[in-house]
Subunit: 180 residues, 2 copies
């Protein structure tokens, strides 16, 4: 048996987002929460202590919430490569994000390129385009150049991401995307 | 050590809602998911098996999702009493529902009165009114008569709840509530 360490990879990014969420919540601009990791519980003692359980696959994305009536759902991914490998996203997460978009919600990824220490909002439109192309023998990753420059996310003093500003830019981006 | 049984109380109601969500999803009318129960994991073996963990308190509500762009968040409660005891709801859940409403989302409870086998959508407006009054020595439960009759939820063939119809009625109810 070994003590469990919370996965290091991506933890910094998650903490940045949690800090952003707290900040936004405090200033009443939105309410975004992290969905708990699903656990299948098989055995419990004393009604409180889990002694046998297993991690389950997520069928949604990590973060969800509401801003000015909009439903928001996103996942956060950190990559050390120069492109975004599509194996980072599971098919049922694509399905989830697709459902959200079809219902008029807003869905995207926040991607950190750790080599260059830059954060981007990746629109679901681009993600799904590359994802479905990859299924029919297209490339298995999204190149850096496919990430819209306008959707870079500012990291404020290294303590939180100003991602709500970027969601606003994303809404503008969406309009252009639909027209073109 | 005893085998863990999934809590029986409220399970039937939860299953009805899960069946409704599947049906709605299949017909592409909304995407509503159950948030996993948060578990604090302390020890894992082989990277997958949890051998020490504890249930944590929820800071949100059980169900969340999107319908026609609206953010929806609700909890489901079954009571065997003639009124709804407010101890069924935790302070941080009231805070969550309040945040959702302030951000333009829609938040409510689905309550089953098991004695009479009837289901109701309880608007957050009514819940919070009684909740805050209870904090200043008001009654500790919501009487059955305070549940709007128009917001009774039809149970289709005992297999699912037609709660989306009731959300529509709730939106009408809200308009009247704001005017009066």
């Amino acid at each position: 048996m070994s003590r469990w360490n919370i996965r290091g990879r991506g933890e910094e990014l998650e903490n940045l987002i949690l800090a952003s969420n707290l900040f936004y919540h405090k200033h009443k601009v939105c309410r975004i929460d992290k969905a708990p990791t699903p656990v299948k519980v098989l055995e419990v003692v004393d009604g409180t202590k889990i002694v046998e359980g297993y991690f389950e696959k997520k069928s949604t994305v990590d973060f969800y919430g509401v801003v000015q009536g909009h439903f928001i759902a996103f996942d956060a991914k950190e990559v050390s490569t120069n492109s975004f490998p599509l194996k980072n996203i599971h098919p049922h997460q694509i399905e989830y994000m697709n459902d959200v978009e079809n219902q008029g919600g807003i869905s995207f990824l926040i991607v950190k390129f750790s080599k260059i220490n830059r954060y981007f909002l990746l629109p679901f439109e681009i993600l799904s385009e590359y994802y479905y192309r990859s299924l029919s023998n297209g490339r298995k990753s999204i190149p850096f150049l496919a990430f819209p420059e306008d959707l870079e996310i500012e990291c404020f003093n290294g303590i939180r991401l100003k991602y709500l500003d970027t969601i606003n830019s994303y809404l503008d981006w969406k309009e252009d995307y639909l027209v073109n």
